[in-house]
Symmetry: C2
């Protein structure tokens, strides 16, 4: 784990391309400067490194600057499950606020960097900047919604539907960040995907092969290309948002 301070101007929130997803959404430049003053440290992580562990006292929450992380929970008997994957601009560590200790483990899936948001200082700042306060609440609430949709997936969907939903969710989040959304590298292993979706690795593999056979995707190792988005959306049980808007010229 490697700490760095953000004296160089290109690390400031004010110039960060993630500003539109991250904490400073909607802030004027004066207020962004205040956030800049608060978020002046970052952590650099190598693949496999922990950002925090279950039980660590909460000192900060984190926003992903680049890279991908996973969070996972452990059961007494050693079983564990991946609960979330976190892309640039997403906030980590929110589960630690409730009891002052992180409830999950956060681990980098690739070389990554996160901005450190000292939590106490942040609460102080949020009281001074209503827009910041509201944005933080929105982030917490969306995290909740995301988890609840995930619950829906695990509770009502079959393996095939879960996997389609997962791929499309990833695709949407990449698109929102300006990345290509129909061709990307999966940063997580099949084991991690299976764990996240509540299915076994063999089933993940079989379903991916089935998708490829049906012409829905092309997959080579971790590089995936979504060929038939509509088909995937149909499997996932949700309408394709892009297609709907195109269908009404």
């Amino acid at each position: 784990m490697n700490y760095a301070s953000s004296d160089s101007p290109n690390n400031k929130c004010s110039v960060c391309v993630l500003g539109q997803f991250c904490l400073p959404v909607g802030l004027n430049s004066i207020d962004v400067a205040k956030v800049d003053a608060l978020v002046k440290e970052r952590v650099h992580l190598q693949k496999g490194e922990n950002l925090y562990r279950h039980g660590d006292p909460l000192s900060s929450v984190y926003s992903v600057r680049f890279g991908t992380l996973k969070t996972e929970y452990c059961l007494q008997d050693g079983r564990q499950q991946v609960i979330g994957f976190h892309l640039p601009g997403e906030i980590l560590g929110l589960d630690g606020i409730g009891d002052g200790r992180y409830q999950s483990d956060a681990i980098a899936l690739e070389e990554s960097e996160v901005c450190i948001i000292r939590y106490e200082a942040f609460e102080d700042l949020a009281r001074q900047i209503p827009v910041l306060q509201h944005q933080f609440h929105r982030i917490l609430s969306r995290e909740l919604t995301q988890d609840q949709r995930h619950l829906l997936s695990l509770g009502t969907m079959r393996a095939e539907e879960r996997l389609a939903t997962f791929l499309l969710n990833l695709s949407q989040r990449l698109a929102a960040r300006g990345y290509i959304n129909n061709e990307f590298d999966l940063r997580m292993s099949r084991v991690e995907i299976g764990s996240y979706l509540g299915i076994q690795i063999e089933t993940v593999s079989r379903m991916l092969s089935r998708f490829a056979e049906s012409g829905l995707i092309q997959i080579k190792q971790r590089h995936i290309k979504l060929i038939d988005m509509d088909g995937l959306y149909e499997l996932s049980g949700a309408p394709n948002p892009d297609r709907q808007s195109k269908a009404r010229p």
Copy 2:
């Protein structure tokens, strides 16, 4: 749906027995009075009535004063799933903050009453009272943790374990509110339990019967008595917190 204002003093947060779980945790009497001024309306619901529906614009969040509610999500194809059960002192409607619209439906499982917390006014007040702000964040964070533990249940546990976990979770939440925790009435149907746990009603029924046969519980309709807590905890994969403390005299 029946609205009422809280002019009578016994409705105020300052005298509410739920104060210790609800929003005003840790506030001094002056600040509680400010919350009282904000939370001056309630809604009375009959069994089956909606508190809000998916898509309704967010105006307020709600705290359960008495009764029980469920929240559920719908899928395009009509499938739906119960996402949470809400006991007195718990906050509802948080999923609406993210996009300004509730993402779920909230429905009373029995005659219930909830306090209306006008959301905009609440944000204003939270900026004035740091303890209130922090308590709100804790509530949001715990909601997140609760959902994530639920994910763990749906993702890694078999039906038997899920049901044991569910019963113990209910028991703990009842205990925290000062109710008897080893004998209570289930306010939800088997269908709702099954939906919440991602299993079919028949499986719920079979598992309950199996528990009863094994002497873990006694169940008659919706009245349930937890006989062998340790046995249930063992099934659920978690240690019995009570037993641990008793084991060290």
